[in-house]
Amino acid sequence: MELLPTTVIGSYPRPNWLKHALSLYRRGKIGESELESAMDDACKLVLKEHELAGVDIVTDGEMRRDEMVEFFAERLEGYRFYGDVRVWGTAHYNKPAAIAPIRYKAPMLVSEFSFARSCTSKRVKATITGPYTLADWSYNEYYGSKREFVMELAHVVRQELRNLVSAGADFVQVDEPALPTHVNEIELAKDGFNEAVRGVDAKTAVHVCYGDYSVMLPYLNEFNTSQFALEFANRRFSDLELFKQSDFKKELGFGVIDVHNRRVETQEEVEHGIKLCLNYLEPDKVYVNPDCGLKLLPKEIAFQKLVAMVNGTQKVRSQLTRR
């Protein structure tokens, strides 16, 4: 594999025609099979766009998922939904509430992963929301302690991860953006993650974004994962020295694209960011990715951002190999 592999965090903007198909489906104007077929087409398109941009490790853009907690909660037993909750600006999700024991029902991601893999020759990364974030971004009306809630979800995630690996997944990213939220619960998040990946035979990464990294850094080496994929462009590439100071031993998926800003980064900015990162980490420990999922951007802009990411990375790569 080349140095500085490029990848995405997961989500990608849905094409307008897919949004239209979804709205037709919700109004009963088209059936499930027609919607499924539109979803399949959208996944192929996103995989192709990732390939065209030159991304090394791709995803299907999570086309089939409305949201990263809602999607799983809808497919598990024990949750109830009361309606949308705002997260920032006009971004919102239907935040689930646990009202009974959470139970695994059936594979949630296996068919989408298998389909994506059948559509590309690139390495496909499977993405799943981690147990701690699933708990923290839900309301809890049932469990007597957060630990009970998180560990129950860890069992659920583990079951799904094992099914994904059986279906051929060799790289799974577990999304834990809630990780730095409660300083006193990072240990719990770590326990939940380690339980979820116990016996799972695949490379894993943990994705975290928009939090205070200093509070989680002391725990990161204890996660049974090879990589942390983190947001850095949004924080203008600050906080890197903290990773050096804390003896961070994992690979870093380095976020070089701000996903909440429509301005497309230049390849020089990407190059600059990666070079800053390489002041602190060895090149063979660095992957390059956007800060977070791209789904809230207009599709054309998301694509251009990926192109800038890949071009900037290639620039650094060629300089590294010339050395």
């Binding site: 009361y82 949308d84 920032w88 007597g144 957060k146 619960e185 928009y210």
Partner: protein, 340 residues
């Protein structure tokens, strides 16, 4: 004794989110959006009036986050920066970036107040501003380089807003100031004269809301010392368990009682608005729980002025938030009516 029910922070933006999105996408005009904002504000205020909520809030339906109205032009020197998690909630705000000396171009609340006063008399309305310490702690300062000068200027511009609202005759102004809860003793000493100037002349109408942190005695004593007469502490189960929503009503009630039974002579004079309904969990409290909590508080000798939610209701789905307001109002009414 009458107990008032009131709503702290904002309300869920509901259908307005969709309208705002459509306006951003150019699908509807700004006029159409503003008309909807007006209608929704009216709807929310009338809803509270019907329930007997007093004072009422406009729901902060145009506030993207705690600082957005300031950083979108009202406050010269402040711009919108990167997206950061808002305390330990799954909600984000844009961090204000301070690039020049702060100056208030126009009172942030003027348009809000205009709208609100179409539905409620000024005295029945509660204004809203962020607290100076929270504004400072949650901003990125690229101009002042001195923490003291920065907080001093922030307090001055926010005082202009506070004074505007009080000048218009509002019943109260809620100063949303969670960051005070983790200010060090030295910091509190530094802040004392600044807060005294900030609220001077408005001591009786300024409420300090301290959501997301179980009240710290030193901070409440400090507020009394500064001259504040009303404080709104967060006594919710989620906050009692440091952000972990595990619905421990009995434990929370016992802790509230313990906390209030140890008030200092100074804080015994302060009015408390008890933040009892949990805006971080969907489980709706029983009115009897709220009445029990008020009974427990009154028994300790604390001056209970009212009951409220613990922090902004914008963290809940709209249907649940409205249920929680109904329960608050029902509990306050029945408690005042002697149903114990």
């Amino acid at each position: 004794m009458t107990l008032q029910a009131t709503v702290l922070g904002g309300s869920p933006h509901g259908v307005l989110m969709k309208y705002r999105q459509m306006m951003h996408e150019g699908k509807i005009s700004e006029e159409k959006y503003l008309a909807k904002l007006e209608a929704q504000t009216g709807k929310f205020i009338r809803f509270q009036l019907r329930l007997g909520v007093n004072p009422v809030s406009d729901g902060l339906l145009e506030w993207d986050d705690l600082f957005a109205p300031y950083c979108r032009g009202a406050l010269a020197g402040a711009e919108r920066g990167s997206l950061i998690r808002f305390f330990d909630n799954n909600v984000y705000y844009r961090r204000p970036v301070i690039t020049a000396k702060l100056r208030l171009n126009s009172p942030v609340s003027s348009s809000t107040l205009m709208r609100a006063l179409n539905y409620a008399a000024p005295g029945r309305f509660k204004g809203f501003i962020p607290g100076p310490e929270t504004f400072v702690r949650l901003s990125e300062d690229k101009y002042y380089q001195s923490a003291d000068a920065f907080v001093l200027d922030v307090a001055q511009v926010l005082r202009e807003d506070l004074s505007y609202l009080i000048g218009k005759g509002v019943g109260a102004v809620e100063v949303f100031d969670p960051s005070l809860s983790y200010a060090s003793s030295e910091r509190l000493t530094l802040l004392k004269p600044i807060y005294q100037d900030f609220i001077r002349g408005f001591e009786d109408k300024t409420w300090i809301a301290l959501p997301y942190f179980w009240p710290r005695r030193e901070v409440i004593d400090w507020l009394a010392d500064v001259g504040l007469t009303t404080v709104c502490p967060d006594f919710s189960p989620t906050t009692f368990h440091s952000g972990d929503n595990v619905n421990d009503f009995l434990g929370t009630l016992a802790a509230l009682k313990r906390w209030l039974s140890e008030l200092s002579p100074l804080t015994r004079q302060m009015g408390f608005i008890l933040g009892l309904t949990d805006s971080r969990n969907t489980l709706v409290e029983q009115a009897s729980y709220i009445r029990d909590a008020v009974d427990a508080a009154v028994e300790t000798g604390a001056k209970v002025r009212g009951v409220s939610n613990n922090g902004t209701l914008d963290l809940l789905p709209e249907s649940v938030a409205f249920k929680k307001i109904r329960v608050l109002a029902k509990a306050a009414k029945s408690w005042s009516g002697g149903e114990r």
